[in-house]
């Protein structure tokens, strides 16, 4: 298993390099322009100078190599300096700068990460916590009223897009009932019970929207996997031996059924980091998803490039983790 993991990690390096190049090339070919949002009253000569100040007048390959150096050498060195307090060299090096804010991209990401982890991560955890019991009961009592209702809700939750449910919930709970705020206050500091309640209130709607979506998806997997296992020979044997039904279901069947589910959950973890673009935008949660969408709209290429690449790293990494977990959970699978 260890050699397998090492081999996979080694292989990830060229993969990621190719990915970074492809992202860079695609973004370069995309026709949108960082100056597109500026007022037309800014004359063309000035626009040319702004472009040059962004480094856009340099050829494609130079820009790519510069980004590679900034991202793989300068940024890690900078993090190292911040953690240890040491200075490497002169301590002055070009960092990856966003074109819109003209500030280091990594600082922007660090600033946005906590909100995304809180809101989107919480929704993911809730989604899992709801999905497993619902999936188990639905499968055990297949075609019962509970299963029918559950299937209906999960189908709706899965197929209705979040930009619809989000706005619907705002109209109901914020505009009509006025129970929850429609705009996330990103300046709220939780240091007392009152603040904590306020934080819960403002997280409620976005978490609800995302939990519904996540739970719907995972419930379907749990239910399907449970149904597969319930008809297996070992279940019949256990029941014939006189094992209690609860033990059969929760120990034998559930454990085996969760193997594919765990993989699905692991593969879904990178999506927490990429944020829920639409939901964050609707509720104005200042997470990574919102950062990405504003960067895309404003053609802030260095920011889009860096974010997308970080997501690519996470996806490659969690694919590996899912594979390793699969091997650990299921002794029948051996990689070596």
């Amino acid at each position: 298993m260890f050699t397998y993991t090492i081999r996979r990690l080694m292989f990830a390096v060229p993969t990621l390099l190719v990915i970074s190049f492809v992202i860079f090339a695609l973004l370069d070919l995309a026709p949108n322009d960082p100056l597109g949002e500026l007022p037309l009253t800014i004359p063309p000569e000035v626009r040319e100078q702004i472009r040059a100040a962004m480094g856009l007048d340099q050829p494609f390959l130079i820009r790519y190599l510069k980004w590679l150096q900034q991202f793989f050498v300068n940024e890690p060195l900078n993090i190292f300096e911040q953690i240890t307090g040491l200075t490497v060299g002169t301590g002055e090096r070009m960092r990856v700068l966003s074109w819109a804010t003209r500030s280091p991209v990594v600082d922007l990401i660090v600033q946005r990460l906590p909100q995304t982890l809180w809101v989107v991560g919480m929704a993911y955890v809730f989604g899992i916590l709801i999905a497993i019991p619902v999936g188990v009961i639905s499968a055990y009592r297949q075609y019962s009223v509970f299963d029918q209702v559950g299937t209906f809700i999960t189908m709706v939750g899965y197929s209705v897009p979040t930009f619809f449910t989000g706005v619907l919930l705002i109209v109901i709970f914020s505009s009509w009932l006025q129970w929850f705020p429609s705009i996330y206050d990103t300046n709220l500091v939780v240091d007392s019970w009152a603040n904590f309640v306020e934080q819960m209130r403002q997280m409620f709607l976005p978490v609800l929207v995302l939990s519904l979506y996540n739970a719907s998806q995972i419930t379907r997997f749990v239910r399907a996997s449970m149904l597969d296992n319930l008809s297996m020979d070992y279940v019949r044997t256990a029941r014939a031996k006189g094992v209690r039904e609860k033990t059969v279901l929760l120990v034998h069947v559930l454990r085996n059924s969760l193997i594919p589910v765990v993989t699905v959950i692991a593969l879904g973890v990178p999506t927490i980091f990429s944020g829920a673009i639409i939901t964050e935008q609707i509720f104005r949660v200042n997470g990574l998803g919102q950062l990405l969408i504003t960067a895309v709209q404003g053609a802030d290429i260095p920011l889009v490039q860096t974010l997308t690449f970080i997501f690519a790293v996470l996806i490659v990494l969690f694919n590996l983790i899912a594979d390793v977990l699969y091997g650990i959970l299921d002794p029948r699978i051996r990689y070596d």
């Binding site: 597109g36 007022p39 100078q49 100040a53 819109a100 600082d107 705020p181 990103t186 504003t294």
Partner: protein, 567 residues
């Protein structure tokens, strides 16, 4: 009865007294502003975007700015320099500003002429990519005569000298804070760019880029009684409709900028009674540009260039005029703009002294007249109902940027044109591509690979000289100048060039207005474009907020120091 009156009078007096008592700094709590396009930086010299210019205007200020009527107001100076008061020399080659005594930066240090000189050096430094460089055009020297006097010298007579240090686009930066951030080093100064020290009513407390800014009242502000609010929270992100909802329906915010929302959607929100929409009319005109050159793809590199030849159909003045006559601007206004727009036939729609009524024939739709005009010009309807002459069909590609109001207008215009036998094919391009100006992209508005295209343009401040110069023959975009030119219709008329050149040499305001009107009339009459709607800037304002004076000539937040909470 008399008693009630007395009681009422008493109450009014008490209220007035209460208001006076509240005229104290920082007594009205937090002001919540929503910009659905989030603010990226607080240094307008590095961004140039309207959102950055507006948000930073609460902190950094220019020497003079425009009020809601478009008149110049002395802001950090004692008076507006003119030839009459000796501030501007008779040869119009220099202007001298006298700074108000006693003005302090928010850190307590004195505001001096050195800061003004530095601001000019900062924006004109090479490799800085300063977005507001155009404001400092034609300046050869800015010098500090003494600590309170700044002298600006121009390379040639400047008949409208109020551009540098005037208006929200060119505020004064503090030399002490930015002295190591000049030129190529400008973007690296993140702390300064995110928290400029200013002379304005508010100080940046925390800036989260593309998200939220927190301001607190400036303790060193020159008016001890202002601002009434102790702090400002400026939140960004989302979309226009939900921003309008946050002010008008849920009441979570006090002020929301740029409410580009369909009138019927706004009307439902306004029913909640929590706020109102106010519109300021500046110089924005939504227009259909007409391509005078041939955009035929067969021409290859010569497409939409002067070398490629004239447009086969649109070079006929009758066609251009008929297209304008067939449009019912009232319908477009009602459906797409409501309170935020009014029909216009001018390209210079404001200020008042520049408004012309010569072309007001276009305000009334005249299908019959348009049909007759085309008949007389020899454009005959074919079996498909589309007019043609010598094998050239009146069938046009009509492009614009992606935006629901614009697509609605496109559909309406297509229908109106079909009534005069003109077919049109609609196309929309993402705004960041359309306005991006990437010379490699075929879809930019500058390349104009279409017959007609629609967008809005305007001019900064109140003087249209530079704007009218955009239609000069030498401003036509072409491959030779990297498609960088502002004469989008490729209009070229020596008579027009003459008027604009004369305008640049005229100092008398009345005469300037006459010339500007003449130029404006010429453009519409000749059909360089079809003006549609004079667009305003609508903002949503909470019913509890008082003191807002909507301003289209400067930042909308120009008088934020005077805003207060209704008690």
């Amino acid at each position: 009865m008399k008693r009630t009156k007395l009681l009422l009078a008493g109450t009014v007096a008490a209220l007035a007294f209460a208001n006076m008592a509240h005229a104290e700094r920082g007594t009205d709590g937090d002001l919540k502003i929503l910009f659905w396009q989030a603010v990226s930086t607080l240094n307008p010299y590095l961004s140039g975007g309207t959102k950055e210019v507006y948000s930073s205007s609460m902190v950094i200020e220019p020497l003079a700015r425009y009020d809601a009527t478009g008149a110049l107001v002395a802001w950090l100076v004692t008076e507006i320099p003119t030839v009459a008061n000796g501030g501007v020399t008779a040869d119009m080659k220099s202007i001298t500003w006298k700074l108000k005594p006693g003005v302090k930066w928010s850190d307590g240090s004195a505001f001096t002429a050195e800061d003004v000189v530095f601001t000019w050096e900062y924006c004109t430094a090479p490799d800085g990519g300063c977005a507001q460089k155009a404001q400092y055009e034609g300046i050869t020297k800015v010098e500090a005569v003494d600590a309170q006097t700044v002298k600006v010298t121009f390379s040639e007579p400047k008949y409208y000298p109020y551009s540098a240090f005037v208006g929200a686009q060119s505020p004064i930066l503090q030399k002490a804070q930015f002295k190591d951030c000049v030129g190529a080093k400008a973007p690296g100064c993140t702390a300064a760019n995110f928290g400029p020290i200013g002379t304005g009513p508010f100080v940046v407390k925390e800036f989260k880029p593309n998200d939220v800014i927190t301001f607190t009242a400036n303790p060193n502000f020159r008016d001890a009684a202002k601002p009434a609010f102790a702090s400002v929270t400026l939140k960004g992100g989302g979309d226009a409709a939900s921003a309008a909802r946050a002010v008008l329906e849920t009441g979570e915010f006090d002020y929301a900028w740029n409410m580009q929302v369909e009138p019927e959607v706004l009307a439902t929100m306004l029913k909640a009674g929590k706020g109102k929409i106010e519109t300021a009319f500046g110089t924005q005109v939504e227009r259909i540009q007409i391509n005078w050159t041939n955009p035929d793809p067969k021409l290859g590199d010569k497409r939409s260039t002067v070398e490629g030849g004239k447009h086969p159909a649109l070079s006929d003045p009758a066609v251009r005029k008929a297209l304008s006559m067939a449009i019912d601007r009232d319908v477009i206004d009602e459906v797409g703009y409501g309170e935020a727009g009014k029909p216009t036939c001018n390209i210079v729609p404001a200020p008042d002294i520049y408004i012309s009524s010569t072309n007001d024939w276009c305000l009334k739709q005249d299908i019959k007249g348009a049909n007759k005009l085309l008949d007389d010009a020899g454009w005959k309807k074919g079996s498909d109902g589309i007019r043609a002459k010598d094998g050239v069909k009146l069938s046009f590609l009509y492009q614009t940027s992606t935006n629901s109001v614009r697509q609605g207008t496109q559909a309406l215009v297509k229908d109106m044109w079909s009534q005069i036998g003109v077919a049109s094919e609609l196309r929309n391009v993402s705004a960041s591509v359309f306005f991006g100006g990437d010379p490699a992209s075929p879809d930019t508005f500058q390349k104009f690979y279409a017959d007609v295209e629609m967008y809005t343009n305007n001019f900064d401040g109140t003087d249209p000289e530079k704007y009218l110069a955009e239609w000069l023959c030498d401003k036509i975009p072409s491959p030779a100048n990297g498609w960088q030119g502002q004469n989008i219709p490729r209009y070229c008329n020596p008579a027009y060039d003459k008027i604009v050149n004369e305008l640049a040499k005229t100092g008398d305001l009345k005469k300037r207005a006459e010339l500007a009107i003449k130029a404006n009339d010429m453009l519409t009459a000749e059909g360089a474009h079809i003006p549609l709607i004079h667009r305003g800037q609508p903002s949503a304002i909470s019913a509890t907020l008082i003191g807002v004076d909507m301003n289209a000539w400067d930042s909308e937040l120009w008088n934020v120091a005077d805003w207060s909470r209704k008690k």
